[in-house]
Amino acid sequence: MEEVRLMKGNEAIAHAAIRYGVDGYFGYPITPQSEILETLEELMPWETTGMVVLQAESEVAAINMVYGGASTGKAVMTSSSSPGVSLKQEGISYIAAGELPALIINCMRGGPGLGTLQPSQADYFQATKGGGHGDYHLIVLAPATVQEMADFVGLGFDLAYKWRNPVLMLADGVVGQMMEKVVLPEQRPRRTEREIAEQCPWAVTGRPEGRGPNVLTTLELDPLKMEQHNLHLQKKYDAISAEEVRYEEIDTEDAEYLVMAFGSVARICQKAVEEAREQGIKVGLLRPITLWPFPAEAVARLSNKVKGILVVELNAGQMIEDVRLNLDTRVPVHHFGRMGGIVMDPDEVLGALKEKFNIQ
């Protein structure tokens, strides 16, 4: 029988990483995600699976350790929170340019600047629109439960290797700190050197007899070749957009109004949807699970069915731009958000819905 355990989202990530067979974790403490590193240090996976865990001197060093580890074909990850993720952006751009599989976790807190320790979703733009320099995309997963915090470690690495692309888990302080029931994945062995060489023929492993040097570089001084590389990346992003969109729809069949939210906020909105329905207002919920690629078709389809869309976020209005871009009709779209680390409650969401759309 499956073992159900109670733990924080951050702890679930640490357990899931060991069980997935991750080769290395590199991180730097920052609230509200330090439990990931702390839990890993406590579990000492180097004694069991052989996983390397290292507290780096900075987020800059940590992301470049990920770049190095991923270059050798190893499954490596890092985690941080908003200010630290800003520091990682140059490295993330390199990892995307080098088409390296890796998992990066941002357990968002309120900003800008040093901001607050409390939860936020204000890094949506940074996560989905690039963040670092150059034309690139990360696959962005938004977990809403502790179970998803655990599951998206495995899903994240699977997608990262499938597409040779870094994956960002965009969590927030709520799912990171919240304790919930979770079923952890089965323990898998780490891949052998041979399996890595087969899976990642590009990996920098030390040149074996019979193959030429493998070089992992993101530099190309010939503009024509650089353009080709960019076109290749864009083609890959198109394929990812076509294949990897994930979202959840709740009560949308007969919905007259649509609420859209991701991560922990989607759960608050789910409660608001239930309350609305008890009051006779037909509301549905669309929760993007991948923020990039964005569930554009679902938005277009549902925009034709409803009288209005309320986008609820812990920010000043970021995902709402993607919602507006993907409408199929001129349905009114409004935003409701809280900032500074304040998390709205279901009543506030319902109140906002009624007010913005003049529902009695």
């Binding site: 080769d23 290395g24 590199f26 390397v52 290292l54 780096a56 001197e57 900075s58 800059v60 060093a61 940590a62 470049n64 350790m65 990920v66 770049y67 190095g68 580890g69 270059s71 050798t72 190893k74 490596v76 140059e90 490295g91 390199y94 920098v204 492993t205 030390g206 040149r207 074996p208 007899e209 030429g212 040097p213 493998n214 070089v215 992992l216 570089t217 993101t218 530099l219």
Partner: protein, 258 residues
């Protein structure tokens, strides 16, 4: 004797290491990078380490080192080579992992990564080219630029009151418990080249033995950045650079002495 008789392996006095390929180097005439590349290739070859060597190239004039030495390479972001190498070595302990970095890369933007990798005693070798200037970007001031030295960003000479002092980072690294071997060499004469090669060999062997971090600083010329002919650049280096950066072992806690 016919040419065939002369071309016997036992008669060879000098040859290009097989790992150093035919690609035309992009370095300026007289640049130390080319000589040090050859030494790195020779040492890897002589150690029989071509199948386990992983080089980490910097951002700087040596950014394309991977074009010349036929081993596996990773090109790191500016200054981050020691962090990259840390993960490569920890995840692949059986490999020979080395970084190759300029003074801007190692002692300005990458100071934190350098000091912390060395302090952790990562089992990597760091080849550190100190030419006192930013070669790649067109000859701007480096942390290692000497007082009074004219560069693109110190057109009237480096001034201590404005730009601070030249940074002598190797003795600083030698103070860290994690380093086992810190040496300063040069490649401006045949004798110096031989010594530099021995130092690189020892650094590589140290890292394979797990003795800690080894740093081989090579006091180098940048004739283009210094705006001198290659011969004059060598003279200038001997006259000025060696005073601030004296050649010799700074620390050696290993049993072998170079």
């Amino acid at each position: 004797m016919t040419p065939e008789q002369i071309k016997k392996p036992e008669n060879v006095v000098a040859q290009r290491p097989a790992l150093l390929n035919d690609n035309t180097m992009h370095y300026c005439p007289g640049c130390s990078h080319g000589v040090v590349h050859k030494l790195v290739a020779e040492v890897i070859e002589e150690m029989g380490a071509e199948h386990i060597a992983i080089g980490v190239a910097p951002v700087g004039c040596a950014v394309m080192a991977y074009n010349y030495i036929d081993v596996d390479w990773i090109e790191a972001a500016h200054g981050r080579a020691p962090a990259v190498a840390t993960a490569v070595k920890r995840l692949n302990p059986s490999r020979l992992v080395f970084t190759y970095q300029g003074d801007g890369d190692l002692a300005a933007i990458g100071t934190a990564e350098t000091i912390h990798a060395a302090n952790r005693g990562e089992n990597i070798a760091i080849i550190f080219i100190n030419n006192g200037i930013y070669g790649m970007t067109g000859g701007q001031m480096a942390p290692t630029t000497l007082e009074g030295m004219v560069t693109a960003t110190t057109p009237y000479g480096r001034r201590v009151d404005l730009n601070g002092h030249h940074l002598n980072i190797s003795p600083l690294l030698a103070q860290l418990e994690g380093t086992c071997y810190v040496t300063r060499q040069s490649v401006h004469t045949a004798a110096a080249v031989r010594k530099a090669k021995k130092a690189i060999r020892q650094a590589f062997e140290n890292s394979m033995k797990g003795l800690g971090t080894s740093v081989v600083e090579i006091v180098s010329t940048c004739s283009s950045g210094w705006k001198l002919t290659p011969a004059k650049a060598n003279d200038w280096m001997v006259e000025h650079m060696f005073e601030a950066y004296p050649v010799g072992d700074i620390k050696n806690t290993t049993t072998q002495k170079s």
